[in-house]
Amino acid sequence: MKNILPQTSVDFYLSGENAAVLYSRSPVDVDCQRRIWAIAQVITNEAICIDVVPGMNNLTLIFDPELQQGETLLARLKTLWELVEIEQFTPREVQIPVHYGGEYGPDLAAVAVHTGMSEQAVIAAHSQAEYRVYFLGFQPGFAYLGGLPSTLTTPRRTEPRLEVPAGSVGIGGQQTGIYPVTSPGGWQIIGRTDMRLFDLHRRVPSLLQSGDIVRFVPVDASEQNGDKHA
């Protein structure tokens, strides 16, 4: 599995005084990203950088220029890009219980109309898919998830909401994601989870980490199937 990606498809460069960057120009795919997660894990374990920040197809190492040479880190990145096996990265699997529809998912009906599916079919498609956390950014604990079934692609709301509750699960274009904190937002909200995406009091504050496999699990599926226990 070594050297499956030629060196020519990837750039290594410094950005400013304190950042070393690996930037792959190959098309976005999970294998490239797995390589990045694997390298990030190695560098994190080596504890040679202040921050190790995966992006989409890229990895940024932030270092103290008084303690580290940027060129040394670039060389390390080049070596790892060649040597790391993507199997080296073992993802965690995180299940996220979601209350779909109703007051928790005010836009479920709109997504159903747009996709030409029933609400039940939207829930089924959204919760049966397997997602990957490509990277985190935008807000503490916000995960950029890949893997939304193309049948669920729905444009953002024309009128963004001023307040989307924390834990809301939404679809925005080809992306799905979870709002870690209550904030303004334009995504179509189809459900909500009780899990805290970001909690200062946990040892690791962010629930999700780059590379995680994420599944959404409908809460109280029996009721959502219409089998009300009267």
Binding site: N18, V53, Q139, F198, P205, Q209
Partner: protein, 308 residues
Amino acid sequence: MLEILRAGIQTTVQDQGRSGFRHMGVAQAGALDAPAMWLANRLVNNAGTAAGLEVVAGPFEIRFMRDGWVALCGADFDATLDEQALVCGWRYPVKKGQKLRLRGPKSGTRVYLAFDGGIDVPVVMGSRSTDLKAGFGGHAGRALKKGDRLPLGVTYPLKNKLGTPQRQWTPEVRVLRGPEFDQFDEASRQSFFKQVWTVSPQSNRMGYRLQGTALHKSESADLLSHGVLPGVVQVPPNGQPIVLLADAQTTGGYPRIAVVIAADLWKLAQAPLGRQFCFVETDLEGAKAARKQWQNELYRFEWSLYGK
């Protein structure tokens, strides 16, 4: 303890910022003029990394609830302790019940106040800095309000008033070429360095938006989201650059035309809205020399304070 009597426009508890959590989307936060916060702390014999106050504009007033010391660094504000005028860059003894008042800045934008013992709010992810956007750190994760009370740490015996000359603000901000510099067309690459940029009113702790002749890319290659840091100068599609500062998001996707060197980032923090300045190109050696110069200034300052 300190009591806030008037909070000004945006007063926050800040230290040297947060690191080690950027991969979770946690911004750096911290004093925008980090060297000024550091100097103010050292004047009252705190660790440079202690927490103090960043005050953007008056009217600001606090009451001391114990005897101690205060130091001011950064912007030159019209400052008084009861009736006594205070000079920026100095430390002063304070008595319980005395009031410190800040009106407006005479020059600069942000003044930093340090108190002996430091502001002892809880450490969140390694820092006491306020993350205004995410709402944690500092005091209750927000800018201070009238009536807030802030705990102070243990005091040390200090003797006399002491001061240090403040750094001079000049309208030249040194930058390194950014990773996408060459993607801009020839005219834009030249005009980035030749033109005078104006700090737009839509500037805040996340970033300073600049106004000037728009910059254009010659290639239209789209960038994927990547890690960004304070100092990165990104150019959104409207061609008006944004200099990212301490509260900036951890990832971004706009082309990076330049990166402000660490030693000059404070100049943006102290540039008032509407102020004009230029970017001057330097290289890694130049950036290193500038860092070294600041280190030497710090050593001299430490020696003059505590070395004798």
